[in-house]
Amino acid sequence: MSIEVTDELVEKIAVLSRLDLTREELDGFKEHFEKVLEYVGELQELETDGVDPSLFTSEASNVLRSDEGTPSLPNEVALRPSPDSEPPYFLVPRIIGDAESSEN
């Protein structure tokens, strides 16, 4: 399995990441992605026939908590790291369209 990092792929990832990149930046990412994949590609050399895929790094399961609350952050603390806000809301550049929520 090897993924060819094409210009189209990098551009698609930029769109999915909502990033507006220059040609130079796109080329830079292309090179970077290739290096990452090459590095990870070394794993392909290992013999894994007959080994189940491992989805998690630990064997643990069912690490669950009780349905009990603790206090949340005060509004001003929650808003502090955000680039723009108008208490009590976070502000973002107007979202195109009028979806109330992205949830799907």
Binding site: V15, R65, N75, P88, Y89, R94
Partner: protein, 488 residues
């Protein structure tokens, strides 16, 4: 075209609709899915938030056991198959209401697969198969103010537990979609896993619609209408979308696979074109959470602890308790009324009397207060005292309704309220006879009519006696007495 939209576009059409739903049900846990913030609607924006649900670097999710248990109840109640292993996955996309840049959801090993919801559609048995049910976290909420180049984001809802129920494309009309959803909602209410309040968004629905020539078996290209939050909107959006697709085909154009939004103000669906709608979620297993596993015994325990569901309850009301179909259905559809009814018949087994009083008088009181029966705070025992008082002839059915109001405003025993208001029915025959004779002597005309065989005049005389006694007489008894006196 505008006027036609109100009608079912499929009537007399050469096409049929193929509809599948994705229903989102907000679970009613106390805290969010992966953090300990409160899971509550209506709080001041961005006050139920913490580093986990705000997606701050280094904060890690911690799954809520109650949310998983509630989900399993729903999954088992819908007849899904539950695997012994389930896991969470990341669904990657960027949107301002999703602070982490991914939603924790379930991809290839959801909690439940398959299943079916059965219901009645115009008195006929119908059923919709389910594809799957999975658990995920909800996103926050965006609002926009006209004329400002910004959107406001409230993340209180971000990270709250959400059940997604996906159906097979088994639905062929807006009425069927509505009937399915109403029934699914009832199941969730009976299970106690959600309040399913559509106005507050705790039950929302995406609708996948395509059309095809009547009788065809294949599926054609579908459009998805997102985020419908009322039965009315679902029906209207479906009607609009079906007629839009029929118009396209008639003009020889193709339906495009796309996401559309329903605009209630214009009563139309609109394409969400552009890069915003372009998705490639690149799911992968959520490395910050462990998988969840269940033993057969655990699942059996949950299954055996499920409450009686709507279909079974309806069956019991009609076949065991002897209620007519209509009142039985009305009770079952109102979860709070059904619970109250069951508590009443434990104390007083005359099911029909209890059902009548709940469906007529008590619901009227609840409706006039814009609340449900449980919020009236009425003890079933006191309510039963009233029903009994009417059944036993202590108070007339008409006057009984006047007793109900003060019962809701004080804790006084029912008998005391009846006597304070002077509403006891006249049980003393001689007292009643006196009143009847008085009325007969005052209305010689109608009396002659009755003697001449005019039945309506009996009703008039009964009415006069009821008036004289301010409703405290038993009308049946009065009519009987009039008959006796006049035939003597």
């Amino acid at each position: 075209m505008c006027a036609e939209k109100k009608l079912d576009p499929l009537e007399n059409s050469a096409y049929e609709a193929v509809v599948g739903l994705e229903v989102h049900v907000q679970l009613n846990t106390r805290t969010k899915m992966f953090c300990r913030c409160e899971n509550r609607f209506g709080a001041e924006p961005n006050t139920n938030v913490c580093p986990v649900c705000l997606g701050w670097p280094g904060a890690l999710p911690y799954a809520n056991r109650e949310a998983i248990e509630q989900s399993l109840r729903a999954v088992l109640a819908c007849g899904c198959e539950v695997g012994e292993f389930s896991k969470f996955d990341r669904k990657n996309y960027y949107y301002p209401d999703l602070p982490k840049g991914y939603q924790i959801s379930q991809y290839d090993q959801p909690l439940g697969l398959g299943g079916q919801v059965d219901f009645l559609l115009d008195g006929e048995k119908a059923g919709v198969r389910l594809t799957r049910i999975h658990l995920e976290e909800d996103a926050g909420k965006n609002t926009h103010v006209a004329g400002r180049p910004v959107s406001f984001v409230d993340l209180n809802r971000a990270g709250t537990p959400l059940l997604e129920i996906v159906t097979e494309p088994d639905i062929s009309s807006a009425a069927e979609a509505g009937a399915f959803l109403r029934n699914l909602r009832l199941i969730m209410l009976y299970l106690g896993v959600s309040d399913c309040n559509m106005e507050e968004g705790s039950l929302r629905c995406d609708v996948n619609v395509s059309i095809r020539p009547k009788g065809a078996q294949h599926l054609e290209t579908r459009a998805e209408i997102k985020n419908l939050n009322s039965f009315n909107f679902i029906e209207k959006a479906l009607h609009y979308e079906v007629s839009r697709q029929i118009d396209l085909k008639e003009r020889g154009e193709e339906v495009v696979q796309e996401t559309r939004l329903y605009d209630p103000e214009r009563d139309e669906t609109r394409s969400m074109r552009g890069k915003e709608a372009e998705h490639d979620y690149r799911y992968f297993p959520e490395p910050d959470l462990t998988p969840v596993t269940f033993t057969r015994e655990q699942l059996e325990d949950i299954r055996s602890s499920l409450p009686e569901l709507p279909a079974a309850r309806l069956q019991r009301y009609t076949s065991e308790l002897g209620l007519e179909d209509y009142p039985a259905d009305l009770l079952v559809r109102d979860h709070e009324a059904a619970i109250f009814f069951d508590a009443c018949i434990e104390l007083y087994p005359k099911a029909r009397s209890a059902a009548n009083w709940i469906l007529n008088s008590l619901k009227e009181e609840a409706n006039s207060r814009k609340t449900g029966i449980s919020s009236l705070g009425l003890e079933p025992g006191r309510f039963v005292d009233l029903v009994k008082a009417v059944d036993d002839g202590v108070v007339s059915s008409q006057k009984g309704r006047e007793v109900l109001k003060p019962m809701l405003e004080s804790d006084k025993p029912v008998a005391e309220i009846i006597s304070e208001l002077g509403l006891e029915q006249i049980s003393d025959d001689s007292e009643l006879r006196e009143q009847v004779e008085k009325v007969l002597s005052e209305h010689p005309g109608p009396v002659e009519d009755v003697r001449a065989g005019k039945k309506n005049s009996v009703n008039f005389l009964v009415g006069q006696v009821m008036k004289e006694t301010r409703g405290k007489a038993n009308p049946g008894k009065v009519a009987e007495m009039i008959g006796e006196i006049l035939s003597a």
